[in-house]
Symmetry: C2
Subunit: 223 residues, 2 copies
């Protein structure tokens, strides 16, 4: 098994996370790097989605990945094995989210010089990561069909913070009571403007649309 | 739609949550009440499981339910409509977990006098609720098949704290790459002693086993 670089993170010493996040974002922009913060519940398919997305984009961009987890290095091993891109594991030491200081430590540890596109897979949690600006260029939120169509009502902040909401596991729609129209209605109450993309990371459905979204976002970011 | 009693919780003033939790537990025991703290990711089926379980137990016990959410009252409305038991909604004001002081406020607001059995549906989150002892008699953790068999590796504390792990949505096992043996192996690394019960809250499979588990736990609790 591939040796994985593991970074043990400590809680940030910066009192003003928002200011620190703006600084991270400014630095990214100056280097022409796009950082996508990917958030979701545990098990909604962040890693599988990233692997499919990286395969679609890696001939065009130099890509890096930061996998944040409380423990373990399973996702990083999977990403490296499946895509060959540069990937590191961030351990949060039990913490439920990443803040901007932790994200900066991750970027520095990834040695992100020369990368065009960095994916941050945040801790699996629909609550806390939404409260902390990581300094990412954009926020993606993944919701999977088995989690239910009511989640924008119950976890409002997470859906408010999303630039794009990715509805994953659409291949199992026939087996679950998930009403896509209801989901859209609930989502629009919280976030009228975000993009919504339906995918199945497992079958590959919708991955081209998601890759196009990333390309447009990178182009806009670089101006 | 049924009018729901909503309690807005504030962060607890008690410095020592563990001492406060022990006090909550002592009070419950003196009143002969059993409190089950139910934790899981968003969308793993806490409410549906509770509804099925309450239907199986409500002729035997006087039951109350506390539904903790960041926002909304959907679950409480569903529980009352489906079972008719006493249920209240706890709003955490954005907080990602319940502590013992918040749990006590909930129990007092539920007016739990005369109830035998109270279910606490914690905030949907596999991280933070595990860090705070609520004072419950026992902890149940629900994992649903679509979330994946690797979750005990990634969210170790949650699975360590479980007295019973409920594997839900087993009806969709054919449509997901969930290896039950792997899951058991990973779980046992974190928690060699907990009970494991497989259910489908949707089809009713395994609900009798879960109801039996609750009956035994209540009997043991009352001594």
């Amino acid at each position: 098994m591939e040796e994985v670089k593991v970074i043990e993170l400590k809680e940030s010493v910066f009192a003003d996370n928002d200011a620190q996040a703006d600084q991270v974002r400014d630095d990214l922009r100056q280097r022409g790097q796009f950082l996508l913060n990917v958030m979701s519940s545990p098990g909604s398919g962040k890693t599988t989605t990233l692997i499919a997305l990286i395969k679609a984009l890696k001939d065009q961009y130099r890509i890096g990945v930061m996998e944040a987890d409380i423990d373990g290095a399973v996702d990083t091993q999977d990403v490296i094995a499946a895509t060959g891109v540069k990937a590191i594991q961030l351990h949060t030491g039990g913490m439920c989210h990443l803040d901007a200081g932790m994200t900066r430590t991750g970027i520095d540890s990834l040695d992100a010089q020369g990368l065009d596109l960095v994916f941050l897979e945040n801790v699996g949690n629909l609550v806390c990561p939404a409260e902390f600006d990581t300094g990412a260029s954009k926020n993606a939120v993944i919701l999977s069909v088995p989690e239910g169509d009511d989640k924008p009502l119950k976890y409002p902040l997470m859906f408010e913070k999303a630039d794009v909401v990715i509805l994953n596991k659409v291949d199992v729609l026939p087996y679950f009571d998930f009403d896509v129209d209801k989901f859209q209605t609930y989502l629009r109450r919280r976030n009228p403007g975000c993009d919504v993309i339906r995918i199945s990371a497992k079958t590959g459905e919708g991955i081209d649309d998601l890759a196009d979204w990333v390309r447009r976002a990178v182009d806009t970011w670089r101006g």
